[in-house]
């Protein structure tokens, strides 16, 4: 059992998670707008605010790998990585345990590359149901300490314990208790950051891993946070880091001490946000349990088992994806106005194209045809395609009134909507493959996948 680390001066852990800023979609617009609307004077007022908050950020160490190791004691002391299935060309490392980490195995790299570094590496296919169950168990445990718990992916969560301090104990004490209980009750370890805002508490949980507690308060944040590289700050990724370096900014402290106008000039409104983050002026609240996140987009993507070489191939894959996304759209009671497709070729070059419908729709046929048309217009077959994605956004409720048109066949639309509803019921009762369009039978290798029921772990964003 590791000792409780209330570290103020330990070396920066180089393995901190630096990729949070990538691939996370928008979530909470109110937070963002509130930050953007604040002016410098207001920031400083917030910084000196006497109402101190106590926020924990708990991060399960090597989450997927830890759960797998818990269930397989035989592999616990060996290098283990959870990875996708290489036969379906999903063979990248999703998580690795601490032993594999020591060999230099990195998240996101292909299995062959990882095995070159560590030939004894044991790769396991992911079991997302199990991970989701563990995630729920951690949240349930957190809920004994606060009613403000906001998840960030499956393995991370913020817990606002400001009000709980009075009857349970100090933030550090609560963090220590959570850390011990998760270890005993769930058999995995967590790193917890304790601070006065969400950004610094997240920084704290990344600062020392695994199985540690880091307290960042108003007295020590300049020592701990400000001396760390700029890239350790939430939302500073590779591109931002490069740009920062060109401005002579290398540490978080330098971001904090750069005039806000300079950052605004270079990064636009994100300049304000990063400056506020670096100075500890983040005031975004921790959402309450069960507080519904506003869904802003619904999408699915897939890396296909083989490269797509012609339009027929694309049609097969796109039909399955559109069917799934439209079913999810209807299940949530939405209609969408904007359609976006993502195409990635075999050289991993990605491109996005989007279009807007005249009226919001959730009809599978219409959306599939539009997606194919958009693809047809935008892709020149410069290279075979490796993965395809589709996403719908700009939602309105499916029972909202809308302006019908003289030139559209509204009766046909109603018929298609009724057809979709029937198909949804049939698929729900008899399974995803009970009913499908004939073109999917041409190449089952490409079309036999089920994004609707297979794992859907949605990326999340801070905003």
């Amino acid at each position: 059992m590791k000792e409780y680390n209330k570290n103020t001066d330990e070396q920066l852990n180089k393995d901190t998670n630096k990729n949070i800023n990538h691939s996370k979609t928008s979530k909470k617009e109110n937070t963002q707008s509130s930050i953007f609307s604040l002016q410098k004077g207001v920031y400083e007022k917030i910084g000196n605010d006497k109402r101190r908050r106590v926020i924990l950020h708990s991060d399960c160490n090597c989450f997927y790998a830890s759960v797998e190791c818990l269930y397989n004691p035989d592999i616990r002391n060996k290098p283990v990585a959870v990875s996708g299935n290489p036969e379906n060309r999903h063979g990248i490392i999703l998580t690795k345990n601490e032993i594999a980490k020591k060999f230099g195995v990195k998240t996101g790299e292909p299995i062959w590359q990882a095995k070159n570094k560590c030939p004894e590496l044991i790769t396991i296919e992911p079991h997302f149901d199990l991970y989701r169950r563990f995630s729920n168990m951690t949240r349930k445990l957190y809920s004994e300490y606060s009613d403000r718990i906001e998840g960030f992916g499956l393995d991370e969560a913020w817990i606002d314990v400001t009000d709980s301090e009075r009857f349970i104990g100090k933030g550090e004490y609560i963090a220590k208790e959570i850390n011990q209980r998760i270890k005993k009750e769930l058999g995995i370890t967590v790193s917890i950051g304790v601070s006065f805002n969400k950004i610094f508490s997240k920084f704290g949980s990344d600062y020392k891993k695994p199985d540690a507690i880091t307290v960042i308060n108003k007295e020590n944040y300049k020592d701990i946070v400000w001396n760390s590289p700029a890239q350790d700050l939430l939302y500073v990724g590779k591109a931002t880091k490069k740009k920062m370096n060109s401005l002579g900014i290398y540490t978080i402290g330098e971001i904090a001490n750069t005039p806000i106008e300079t950052l605004r000039y270079s990064f636009g409104k994100w300049g304000d946000v990063l400056w506020a983050f670096a100075n500890g002026y983040d005031t975004s609240p921790v959402a309450k349990i069960n507080e519904q996140d506003t869904v802003k987009s619904i999408g699915n993507s897939t890396t296909t088992p083989r490269d797509l070489n012609n339009f027929e191939d694309v049609k097969s894959v796109m039909t399955v994806l559109c069917d799934c996304v439209c079913r999810r759209l209807r299940a949530n009671g939405f209609k969408a106005r904007t359609l976006q497709i993502t195409i990635r070729d075999k050289f991993l070059m990605s491109s996005n194209r989007q279009m807007t419908f005249d009226t919001p729709t959730n009809i599978t046929k219409q959306i599939t045809e539009s997606a194919l048309r958009l693809f047809y217009r935008s892709y020149s077959w410069s290279a075979p395609i490796r993965s395809l994605g589709i996403s719908l956004s700009d939602f309105s409720g499916d029972n909202m009134p809308y302006q019908i048109s003289f030139f559209n066949d509204e009766n046909k639309k109603h018929k298609l909507e009724a057809l979709d509803k029937t198909i949804d019921v049939l698929k729900r009762r008899f399974g995803n493959y009970s009913l499908m369009t004939a073109n999917l039978l041409k190449d089952p290798e490409l079309s036999h996948f089920n994004p609707y029921d297979d794992h859907t772990v949605h990326p999340v964003g801070f905003f």
Binding site: L70, Y71, N72, P73, R133, M137, K183, K184, E185, L186, G187, I188
Partner: protein, 76 residues
């Protein structure tokens, strides 16, 4: 070692679940004399986690786990 077992159990009027006996894979039945403790716990030895019942069976104390609606016991 992890051994999944059949269990005879009782739900009381408060909805609590109490195991009464463990049925081994060869058909032998072991009555649980007393459950001395119930708590969530991980079993590092056999690999799993869940609600752990500390059961007294004769002179022995055994941990019986309920994980995702399946019972298992830590084999000594």
């Amino acid at each position: 070692m992890k051994q999944f077992v059949s269990v005879e159990a009782k739900f009381d009027t408060d909805g609590n679940l109490l195991p009464l006996s463990i049925i081994w894979d060869d058909g032998r039945k072991f009555e649980i004399d007393r459950v001395t403790d119930v708590r969530y716990s991980a079993s590092l030895k056999s690999g799993g986690t869940g609600l752990r019942y500390t059961c007294r069976i004769g002179n022995h104390l055994r941990y019986l786990y309920l994980d995702d609606n399946r019972w298992f016991i830590e084999k000594p």
